[in-house]
Amino acid sequence: MESLKEYLLDRAENGLIPLSIQTWAVQNFGLTFSAVEEAILSLNLLPARYQRNQRSLSCRQQLSLFRGKVAVIGCGGLGGYIVEELARLGVGHITVVDHDTFEEHNLNRQLFSKVDNLGQPKVAVAAGRVKEINPAVTIEAVQNAFTGSNGRGLIEKVDVVADALDSIPRRLELAEVCEKCDIPLVHGSVGGWYGQVATQFPGEYTLQKIYSRCSGEGGIEKDLGNLSFVVPIIASIEVAEIVKILLGEGSTLRGKMLSLNLLDMEFTEITF
């Protein structure tokens, strides 16, 4: 029987491996989808699902994303879109942490919430969604609240952490754990027509500067709520930051905060 390598090289069409071939290899070589994906990318071939990534992300970069490990802390509005976009990009390992279940008031903006899954754990729904989208992605669903005490165990093996929390004190705890674990943190938050993104590397304490004078649980969102079109914009900018950190390319919001005002269509960058 031919080897996996020979099988893949023989069936590549213009450097692409169709899903049907990848699936056949999984079934007939007794491998996981993830293992076959790594084999494809290591041969400088591309699973055909990433064909439209190809001109912006090389095979080598796609392999870097596949080997990337990201923890998404919070699986509500921001977290849902972040998980979706990371899975479609082909980021290989996603840990998603949230203790909550879907409620009716999530339906206005939370991507994974549906009439049919109200009451179900958000992270379990997210994991099911990722498997439907991209079976090569390993998703770890943790139905637990992120805290200063359990945080290290949840994130210490990842390359980047995405902040998708809805509480300022929890965010500060997350920033502290990232600092202790020496892991970059991409922060995003939303409220009403407004949102913000920042990227913090160890030693920079950007989140502490952003929230240093906040003693309450929340911010303007407590009065203004959250709108469907603000959440995916902030989530997408967070994902762009995560991708650049995983690839070590481009310019990030390191040491800065980008503030978005979609009511007046003003984007303002400040440097800490």
Partner: protein
């Protein structure tokens, strides 16, 4: 002395986006917040001429004061 005050996000509601004000010498950010009826809790991020500041920061002629509210939803 003239200070330019720029408000961000929801702080603009029923106030303004950017405006120039005349203040007495020695005015601090805290005085300006009080005059605009903005609580210190609402002024999460304070920048003076693109430098991070706080309620106690003094201002001088020509300064640009930027104030952002806390945004914490996810």
């Amino acid at each position: 002395m003239k200070v330019t005050v720029k408000l961000f996000a929801s702080l603009r509601k029923d106030r303004f986006a950017v405006d120039d004000f005349d203040y007495q010498e020695g005015v601090t950010v805290g005085h300006i917040l009080a005059s605009l009826n903005i609580s210190e809790e609402e002024a999460a991020i304070i920048f003076i001429n693109a430098r991070h500041g706080g309620p106690d920061s003094p201002l001088k002629e020509g300064d640009l004061l930027a104030i952002f509210p806390p945004v914490g939803g996810g």
